[in-house]
Homo-oligomer: 248 residues x 2
């Protein structure tokens, strides 16, 4: 049944996101990001129990400069709240300037989550920047990729290019949020990016993830019935109070 | 173990709420209300399964003019999302003027939740206003009381006085949010208000609910570890990704 759910083009994802936050529907970015990030956290915990016997404790969340990064920040603090055994670290590619993201990082600090900034961790102009980034990534049990979301357009600029290359080179499990970073949102992995083990699509999967070979989940349970009917979307069927579903 | 959790005075509840939304901690009202209302919805669904074999389908959510009413609005749409069999109605005592509450009601309409306004439903100046309000309330399987929260101070003004009296007179199960409306936040039911069957305290229970005789739950799982340590709060222990806990 899940296989028949709707997949979104980049334009559809963008326009419906704007519509959800319009006066017509009434959501704020805070609400949508909270529910999206929470579903990522719940799904991550499920993945860790089901596929890793809860052994993944040391978690790096890579947060990009846009809303995908915000989802990652929300997910990080919800994961921290699920089990004190989880040790989270957030990596931001540059210090956020918008109040909204600054506030999200402030809450994360209240959960004792250290915030690393890539240019401070690794001299990205150095010749061994890639090796150093790989070394950093290898020190974690799993990496949550919240670098780029459904707005992604190439080309990838520094230091994101190094991050993507390091993610491709290291052997650490990766869980991507919404779309694997570096993938074309509609055409999939045409730029030779990494293949994550897990993908948690938000609202609905994007066309580019149709041929994703890993474990695929959908989270972000906030689409009102009248909204999905208007767009003629076939939504995933959430069970009870679950915030995510696994696709078959 | 749960019996030893912290109970808050009215002042502690107010000041810690302000602190959660300060620049120091970083939460917005949208985030806190979303998580609070979601926990009420999950808890309501649990109550309905555990104590009523899911027979409570026709639900009235009474929303007051403050943040407790906002929690009720969020809870209503999350309940609507949990099961299409739930038929929600929101009753507001007056039309909200703040954008924040207007937006919350707008989202509820996207879930096909009708919004009733008390003065339009019942002529509160009429001599039989109480009977008409009771009749309205009796047409539902359960009432979620999100009228007054931890900021409550007597006296109760019209038309809230009629609502409280009708809630006392009718035989419909009531589930209160944060504190039973009309109860003193610290001294309990000293004003001869109604006794709800269920109480879902948010963040932590208030002193006034220490002698509550019904089924008591705590929701609002958003207190960071460093925050509860600062206040020396003993928090309830949430299981897995549950958003609420039942107190023993």
């Amino acid at each position: 049944m899940n296989q028949s759910i709707t997949y979104l083009s980049q334009k559809e994802a963008y326009e419906s996101d704007q519509d959800l936050m319009s006066q017509r529907v009434g959501y704020s970015i805070d609400i949508l990001m909270e529910l999206a990030g929470q579903s990522v956290a719940h799904c991550f915990h499920h993945i860790n129990k089901k596929y890793h016997s809860q052994k993944l404790k040391n978690i790096l969340v890579i947060c990009g400069p846009g809303n995908n990064g915000g989802d990652g920040m929300v997910a990080a603090r919800h994961i921290a709240h699920l089990d004190k055994a989880y040790k989270l670290t957030i990596l931001v590619l540059k210090a956020p300037v918008k109040d909204f993201f600054i506030n999200q990082l402030t809450i994360c600090k209240q959960y004792s989550i250290p915030i690393k900034e890539l240019p401070n961790e690794i001299d990205v102009s150095a010749i061994n920047a890639l090796q150093k980034t790989e070394l950093l990534f290898k020190s974690y049990d799993i990496i949550i990729d919240a670098l780029f979301g459904f707005s992604f357009q190439p080309p990838v600029k520094p230091p994101s290019d190094i991050v993507l290359q390091a993610l491709k080179n290291v052997d650490v499990p990766i869980c991507s949020v919404d779309i694997p970073s570096g993938w074309d949102v509609e055409k999939g992995n045409i730029h030779n990016s990494f293949d994550p083990s897990y993908l948690i699509s938000l609202t609905l999967p994007k066309e580019g993830s149709r041929n994703f070979k890993g474990k695929h989940f959908v989270g972000g349970r906030f689409v009102p019935y009248e909204f999905s009917e208007k767009y003629k979307w076939v939504m995933p069927e959430y069970k009870e109070n679950e915030t995510f579903v696994e696709l078959e």
